[in-house]
Symmetry: C2
């Protein structure tokens, strides 16, 4: 039986994080010692390792919840598992594309600036005036589509 601290060390997780996972129902409530301290078995260790590894691959806690539920019915088709992973891949790819657009915009902005004084700084000019941008990130004047028009970028 493992204490929470040992479990934390073994999985590279903070103790509070484990308690947090329990709180939100991602980790089941473990047994307790006489004095009321948490005691984990191998199942707990495996589950936490699964969660942490999934997090490292960028899955959200909700996606992980889904994966954990799916993996509890071994006879089911794994098509849904596939779908979750595909969705994650798509999200990662979308994010990469967005960041690459940012990168080139930033790069261009920086390379254009050869001023000494803030007054002539191209970087600030570009930031002030959207029209100087080449990329297609939303122009303020266009009516924006849907909620959260400034979608997560970093």
């Amino acid at each position: 039986m493992l204490s929470i601290g040992t479990l934390a060390k073994r999985t590279g997780t903070k103790v509070q994080t484990i308690r947090y996972y329990e709180q939100i129902g991602l980790m089941p409530e473990p047994g307790r010692s006489e004095g009321g301290q948490r005691r984990y078995d191998d199942a707990g260790l495996d589950r936490l390792a699964f969660i942490r590894h999934s997090r490292q691959l960028g899955f959200s806690l909700d996606a992980i919840r889904e994966l954990l539920t799916l993996s509890d019915s071994p006879e089911r088709s794994c098509a849904q598992v596939d779908a979750v992973a595909q969705r994650q891949l798509k999200e990662v790819e979308a994010r990469i594309a967005r960041l690459e657009a940012l990168r080139s915009e930033l790069h261009r902005m920086i390379s254009e600036c050869s001023a000494d004084r803030v007054a002539d700084c191209r970087i600030l000019e570009v930031l002030r005036d959207h029209e100087e941008c080449l990329s297609d990130h939303e122009k303020p004047h266009s009516l924006n589509t849907g909620p959260g028009m400034l979608e997560k970028v970093m």
Copy 2:
């Protein structure tokens, strides 16, 4: 003079977001109408446009605060502006690198799975067992370096 709603529309910002920026001191307190409603002038519009555009390029609110302060002294050297932008570029590049590692890991995982049943699903196996990973994302068993071992990935 613009109402907050008009300003919001013109810059593609939510009304609450503008009030939030005011609350954290990023936007100055504007004048008010007789009845106490916010009224903005062109300076406010410009400032908000600057903030929003910088956000679209991924700058943090703190970085934006810095840029705004710098742009207030036009005679200064723009080296610091350059530094802020460079830092941002570096961050974007680091993020891209990290996401590309994730992408290939996810891709490999997905392509390896040809199972029907959850019981044999490679995706779940990989998630369960870190050793199956090729990439260098932190192994749980290695003592991790510094705080926040699971650094922002998405």
